[in-house]
Subunit: 416 residues, 2 copies
């Protein structure tokens, strides 16, 4: 049986009990993708020496590269070292120089290395230590019957730089492959099946790429991934063709060729025009501010967001009139308009964006049910307000409203 290029093995009871959501697979997969290596499968097992060892033996026989994450901490539920040692039938060895490294690291944080940390200086015989500059748990690498195994600590701030600097270069060398070309086209405001109706004919005709349709709360992405035998000339031409077709058919619903999220696309447009934006959020509760400020450099165009939950704060921070709230309610077109204009004027922004609505589960009424949201964008001399009804629970309604507001801004920018 042919070996897979690469697989990931996640270790942790917390994943299988739902106490934590995995963040590693996506990160490892993205990094590998850049080396042209595809993760063929991912597996997850609990913190149990024999379960880890059994799964390791099974997977080491099936893949060339195996990235193992988690279970290298100082506590007694961290048993990945022991599981790997059992799988490769080697004892764990204490390494003095790693123990010194751990002690030095702890001292630099004003702490003393504990007996618990001593476990982290143990490695299966024959393995190579992978240094961890940001934590006490070093990783390690070993080769076993044709499989290259890389074992990394679980905390993402430690795993991520180690993967980038220590694992990716070796994997890249091992396969010596050019990366596969991937083209992403992002849309918002159109259902997956509708998008497929419009574009299916175009994508069926592609010879150089396979196609994925990826719906999420932020919209549907169409992702083209290069086939192994693709013709170099066709790669550019076919991607350009899809781009042109989407522009024609979708207008501002097609907002990005590439992987920038909508907030970054809007920010880049604003920066290019030396314009700015400020936000007045009610039900979205800071989500729009977070989407704008995730990216470095956002301070050039994103001036402020006022998350105004109470009516009083809408009045004092945004200058919404008490009469407006009294007459029309906090969730109304009128209040939304005054919020968008209010924040724009307060901080002197080109555009003001506003959201007000009912995220639920409580607070709805027959006239204003849960899911009712007003989205607004205001500029000097005008505004546009959109009334929408979102289905879903509190978190979904909040996220949809945040992306809906960004889309309204993007649409306005596309028209001017």
């Amino acid at each position: 049986m042919q070996r897979h290029d690469a697989e990931v093995l996640l270790v942790g009871n917390e994943l299988l009990r739902g106490e934590r959501r995995d963040a590693h697979l996506a990160f490892v997969a993205q990094a590998m993708q850049r080396t042209g290596v595809r993760i063929a499968e991912c597996h997850c097992v609990g913190d149990d020496i024999h379960a880890i060892a059994e799964k390791l033996r099974e997977r080491m026989a099936r893949t060339r590269v195996l990235v193992v994450t988690g279970g290298l901490g100082p506590t007694d539920d961290d048993v990945t070292r022991e599981g790997v040692a059992e799988a490769v039938q080697q004892p764990l060895e204490f390494r003095d120089e790693q123990w010194s490294h751990i002690a030095t690291f702890m001292a630099s944080r004003g702490r003393t290395a504990s007996e618990a940390n001593r476990r982290q200086a143990h490695f299966p015989r024959g393995s190579e230590v992978l240094a961890n500059p940001l934590g006490t748990a070093p990783g390690f690498a070993l080769a076993y019957e044709g499989a290259h195994v890389f074992v990394l600590p679980g905390p993402p701030p430690e795993l991520q730089p180690m993967l980038e600097t220590l694992v990716v270069p070796r994997v890249s060398q091992l396969f010596a492959r050019p990366p596969l070309r991937v083209e992403t086209f992002r849309t918002i405001g159109i259902a997956e099946s509708q998008l497929f109706e419009i574009l299916g004919e175009t994508t069926f005709a592609l010879r150089a790429y396979s196609v994925s349709w990826l719906p999420s709360i932020a919209g549907v992405d169409v992702v083209l991934t290069q086939k192994a035998d693709a013709d170099a000339g066709a790669l550019q031409a076919e991607a350009d063709h899809v781009h042109t077709r989407m522009q024609e058919a979708l207008g501002s619903k097609y907002y990005e060729r590439g992987v920038r999220p909508l907030a970054l696309v809007a920010s880049d447009t604003l920066r290019h025009r030396t314009q700015s934006v400020a936000v007045a959020e009610s039900l979205t509760g800071g989500s729009i501010a977070r989407l704008f400020t995730e990216h470095a450099g956002s301070s050039e165009v994103f001036l402020a967001s006022a998350v105004t939950y109470s009516n009083e704060s809408k009045i004092s921070l945004l200058g919404v009139r008490a009469e407006t709230i009294e007459q029309f309610g906090a969730v109304s077109e009128e209040t939304c308009t005054e919020m968008a204009h209010g924040i724009r004027r307060r901080v002197n922004a080109t555009y003001g964006v506003a959201t007000t609505g009912i995220a639920g589960p409580g607070g709805g009424s027959p006239q204003k049910p849960v899911g009712l949201v007003f989205l607004g964008v205001a500029w000097e001399g005008g505004s546009q307000i959109k009334r929408v009804m979102y289905a879903g629970d509190r978190a979904v309604i909040r996220d949809r409203a945040a992306h809906g507001a960004l889309w309204l801004l993007h649409d306005r920018l596309a028209r001017t």
Copy 2:
């Protein structure tokens, strides 16, 4: 070989390419945990009929319950139906009544069911349809050589209610088991190894529980999970003992027995005292507002957050003095103090919480490097400001600062 209770099989190229992060395992695991059923393993394969079928056959022989998610959409990369049909050696059948359901659903959204949607009315012969009230993709259930297989659509807003209403009750009936007792104790501001030094002796002595130590940016959780053969009396006594020990040893660093996040713990304390909070955020960019407003009912205690990125917005929205920013800089103890007091006074809150700092990667200097953050809490007649240095990238520094600010508020509430 003994069968596992339950496993999860995630289907999707997007997961193996890092284009999406899985949200299903955690949700399925939490739901199963309530029925006393543990997920023993999780597997992830791509959108490939044979890979799906092969993995299914392998896992159906090893587990009693198998929850399969994803790949039921309308587009041609959705091939889970075909994979399952191959694995159980049954043809796919078109079902009229499901096709009517899909057409009715689309019509209710003002759209027309397309040819693409027709694929979603196909099911492996002998399987039972699981209705999807929120989307076009029904799920299905089938039994095969001792395994109960539940196949659910990928979008979380559709999968989650289907799992709760259609899958969990059947699994619960199948095993007829009391749920395992799980006790969570949440800490912040202490490293995992330190916590283990302090509590290890206590936890080693536990007979009724196994112990997990779960570090994250929000702090370290200590999770006790009931052993299968635990004595009922010991369950309460041992959990109470851990609680008391943590109270004595950790003070306000131990903030929750249960699963409430820190923002909710602080909100509940404020609600109980009929007090309120408002936030002035700089580098945290709306994160603190989001943490407060995630939970229904937050509007009673959370009045507002002003995300003030520009200096001008700090002045106009918060009333920070221009001289203060000029003399000490936007990232300074003085500005942080005025931000916390400013938002508190503007919206008439009991407490004002503020953050200002340098999240990077740009914007640092030798005097004020990336990672430098001031956290503040202010009240009528006083304030406390904390200067901290966080390691990590932009996202990590932002999240650490948001949780650090919540901790400062919680600590203040614990002292008064």
